[in-house]
């Protein structure tokens, strides 16, 4: 599948949805960057692809959902930042559990942190499918 076919698929599947047009903007933006700069994409960095450039909106979240969902163009991971500002790249299993339960196990202390959403920064990485499409 080429990048043109991907865009057609998105715009066809989510016809008229503003998030669909935005997800196409994100794909074009990511395709313009070298692979070494696509290792840690946060909502803030993806917002650069939007007309507002900096603001993280519900529409952006919906566009990212399109890309991480059935299209499998972006994988999502989680970075835990604890009360001492130490950062921990979470295991995918633990991140998945944190998204379901809104609690996360601190990798150092082994204690449960509640309200995990307030302590975890989600980040995105393009999948092999994305790289095949932009070849």
């Amino acid at each position: 599948m080429t990048i043109g076919e991907l865009k057609e698929e998105i715009l066809g599947k989510w016809e008229g949805a503003p998030a669909a047009a935005l997800s196409v903007c994100i794909i074009e933006y990511l395709a313009s960057l070298p692979a070494e700069e696509l290792k840690f994409l946060t909502f803030r960095s993806l917002a650069k692809a939007t007309p507002s450039k900096m603001v993280v909106t519900a529409e952006l979240a919906a566009a990212v959902n399109i890309l991480t969902g059935s299209l499998s163009l972006l994988d999502v991971h989680g970075l835990l930042i604890d009360e001492y500002e130490r950062e921990y790249d979470l295991d995918d299993d633990e991140f998945a559990a944190a998204r379901t339960t809104n609690s996360v196990v601190h990798p150092e202390t082994g204690q449960i942190i509640t309200n995990a959403a307030a302590h975890i920064v989600p980040y995105f990485v393009p999948t092999d499918r994305f790289y095949r499409a932009i070849k």
């Binding site: 990798p107 082994g110 204690q111 980040y123």
Partner: protein, 351 residues
């Protein structure tokens, strides 16, 4: 020893990510976090009970080689031979069982000098294990009602820094071959460096009394290894680096993803290429990926940490390195062997 005590002992000293990996590698159950894991072992299955000895061994291995600040001492062949002979007379006849000791942190003995709790022969050498109680600060949320009541309406929460006692195990290790002795001090991530400095002296003194002479007095200089190991691209991945430049700036960089390597980071490399003179690292953290099986890796980390001012001295000195995230003695040995490799090359160049 009951497996319940061993799990409790593990929870007191082993980082969750490491403890969880140890349980996984033994095919034993884990909960989400230590609390749920401890609950899971309150009524252990037959299979878990059978693994009690193996798990106690894993805890002993962690006491010998997990979360350590390490000093090396290059000794004369006659000195280390005398030390080996002296230690042999103390070798424990029964295996070390440390979980009960870990759980006993009676603060009355907090000021006591390190006590030799055992001498064990392990693959590659002989280890003298010293035990003492140290403290580390921990932040604790206090009740608003019990502290400031209704006297302030601009305060959201109150915290206290509490000194929590923990059982430390410090190890003098003499390799079966070579002349380089090791002092491995317990160094939990929250422990203050100052408390370790005092404990280092106490263990050196206690060891001298036990073997009958002072041998661990001049630690080996590890400073040259900071640059050497950063430069060696075959040596793990660089996850943190601090360095000076001749342009008059000091820089710090740290990776955020587990597998990311500063040596291949485009921003770092562009900066390095932008300079004609080489950068001058004074602190580096390197991580290795050592496969446990096809799915999981142990991720031991080495930190060689000094300061920008030390870097500018005529003969900069660094007497310690820190090893974290070891799930076994073999993880620690891997890191230590990499240190030895570069140190041998450095000493050979200097000779």
């Amino acid at each position: 020893m009951s497996i319940t005590s061993t799990i409790l002992g593990m929870s007191k000293r082993i980082p969750w990510s490491v403890g969880s990996l140890i349980l996984y590698s033994m095919g034993l159950p884990r909960g989400r976090g230590w609390e749920k894991t401890i609950e899971a072992y309150e009524e252990p299955t037959k299979r878990a009970s059978k693994a009690a000895d193996d798990l106690e061994n894993a805890l002993t291995e962690h006491a010998l080689a997990g979360e350590k600040l390490v000093r090396l001492y290059d000794l004369e062949p006659t000195e280390i031979a005398a030390l080996r002979e002296a230690l042999k007379t103390h070798v424990s006849e029964v295996p070390l069982e440390l979980s009960q000791l870990i759980l006993d942190t009676n603060s009355d003995v907090a000021s006591a000098a390190p006590l030799l709790v055992g001498v064990v022969v392990v693959p590659g050498g002989i280890a003298a294990v010293y035990s003492s109680i140290r403290t580390m600060p921990e932040r604790e949320a206090l009740s608003m009602d019990e502290t400031i009541g209704e006297t302030r309406d601009d305060v959201e929460s109150v915290f206290a820094m509490v000194n929590v006692p923990y059982r430390a195990f410090d190890v003098v290790f003499l390799p079966a071959w070579g002349t380089r002795a090791e002092l491995r001090m317990d160094f939990p991530i929250s422990a203050p460096q100052e408390s370790i400095a005092l404990a280092v002296n106490q263990v050196e003194v206690a060891f001298a009394e036990d073997v009958g002479f002072e041998a661990l007095s001049s630690p080996t200089n590890l400073f040259p290894l900071i640059d050497k190991m950063y430069q060696d691209t075959a040596e793990g991945i660089v996850v943190e680096l601090h360095f000076n430049t001749t342009a008059g700036s000091t820089h710090s960089a740290r990776t955020r993803r587990r597998s990311a390597n500063l040596r291949t980071d485009p921003y770092h490399n562009a900066g390095v290429k932008g300079l004609t003179a080489p950068i001058q690292p004074f602190s580096v953290t390197i991580r290795w990926q050592l496969p446990v099986d096809a799915k999981r890796n142990a991720l031991p980390e080495l930190t060689l940490h000094s300061g920008s001012a030390e870097r500018e001295k005529a003969n900069p000195f660094l007497g310690t390195f820190v090893v974290r995230r070891c799930s076994s003695i073999s993880d620690f040995d891997h890191v230590r062997d990499r240190i030895h490799h570069h140190l041998d090359a450095e000493q050979s160049d200097a000779a």
